[in-house]
Amino acid sequence: MYDFLLPDMGATAPILLVALIGVVLVVVDSFSNDSASIPWLSGAVLVAAITIELARVGVTDSAFMGHVMSGGFASFVNVVILLGALGSVILSVPYLSRTGHNFGEVHALILIATAGMMVLANAGSLITLFVGLETMSICLYVLTGLVRDNERANESALKYFLLGAFSTGFFLYGIALLYGATGTMMLSDMPAALVETGRTGFFAGGVALLLIGFFFKVSAVPFHMWTPDVYQGAPTTLAGFMSTASKTAAFAALILVLGRILPLDDVGLDTRHVLAIVAAITMVVGNVLALAQRNIKRMLAYSSIAHAGYILTGLAAGALGYAGALYYLLAYTVMNIGAFGVMSVLEWDGKQGAEQTIDSLAGIGSRKPLLGVAMGVFMFALSGFPPLAGFFGKYFVFAAAVDAGLTWLALIGVLASVVSAYYYLRVLVAFWMKKPEDAHVSVQSAAFDVPLFSKVVLVACVAALIALGIVPGFITEAAGAFFVTPEATALLP
């Protein structure tokens, strides 16, 4: 009766491993409070999971009677999520130690959230989708409010929790309506069931509510209001984790849902228009609002909204854009982990260093050249400068949009990213071209060094961005193979 259990546990080993170690860390932490071995353990399990997933990118498999996917697309996305988690764990240790918040629970929560993200991104049925989404979200609510004695952290955690719970309600109603309309929970059975029942009002309502849930999680406009407050209030490295890994998971799940139950190329164009319009609004609003920000974390939050818009552009292009969106997600993860990593080093303590703005960081580049150069690479990559990975990400999604006949959308995207160069490069102006004397007094007097772990991650991110930019082919080939339509492969270099 349970013969499938062992082989299926093998197929989903990385998820189970990460979740298991997450639970083990809770036990370790309860016996030895904030033990120094906890971050090592959590880093080791993430590396192990990445290794397993890399070996499984070539196979396509499913487990637990189709409720969980495994291998192929799922493995690729898992690798991106796990890389984001690994970067955040390594950056979090020095950052949280400095502010005195390096609790053992942090790492347990990151691991369990990561397991939830992988479940979300590998979902084969609507129930799995929901379980993954909730596992991820609940851990993230707690991580947001990690700094209990900080008013702003409490505010952002409460905002995130209330709005997130509300959006989960939308998501769940969407699932209920989809089940009511088609009579099946399995994503793979949906197309056949849809042929039988047709696209009823029930179905359309379910899709609309589900999309609202997704739009909230990826912070697409008009469901983006929580993002700046949450990223500003959350511990910096964990904000980086939230903005990369959780978005990757949500976008992967959105690709699964769109690819399975709403193949844009076959069934009507309504959903494509919805996605395209949301993408356009998201790009414009995200970039324009980022122009006005002086707090750098808040600026990065609006930039992450804008990037959600770019990725949605790829999704609106249908199967053509999925591979580009996957490449974009990888590049975005690397550059955003890096940018938040630089900010985490610059917030050298919880008091003076907190709340860094454009003005308070004047001239920091000449004082900390490594941070200045790394931030330069991340900002150029985020604005989409050619040799770096960010450029190819944008190229792939915009090219797919043009190919899918959404030229106006690609045009808005290109114009929006021109606007984005202003606020990204303004950070570099502050870092390099202002004099340290212009800075806030506390920054001038502050003596802090760059922790070794942060250096390693930042250098790795810079190297990865350059490598991904110079040879994007091996990623796009791997990603393109998951969506084997002739048009999709023709687009790739």
């Binding site: 009766m1 349970y2 639970v23 809770v26 009823t200 029930f202």
Partner: protein, 123 residues
Amino acid sequence: MLTDFVPLFLMIAMALGLAMSLLKLAEWLGPKRPRAIKASAYESGMDPVGTARDRYSVKFYLVGMIFIVFDVEIVFMYPWAVSFRHFLANGGGLGSLAVISVFVVILLVGLLYDIKKGGLDWD
């Protein structure tokens, strides 16, 4: 399509209707003989003293939350326990035991964490 759900909607309507009509019926039909004790606030047999807007120690909320978590999760074990004979008869006894054990162990880890971190220490 919609007709499939008629029994469901019927049940919702009946539940709502019963709940509301029974309240109203009790108000109409019940005898009303109020006395001082009957009209006083119900405090599980104790004399109500002081105002209801009192401040409680935050420890009550902690214990209350922990109780709710474990209370709700125990509910998930009832369906398993009821079906266990069926699992045994179909040769899935060991497997289903393993599955529920995972669940119990996860709960146990939570309890362990709670005890070790002093969540149950009253003082």
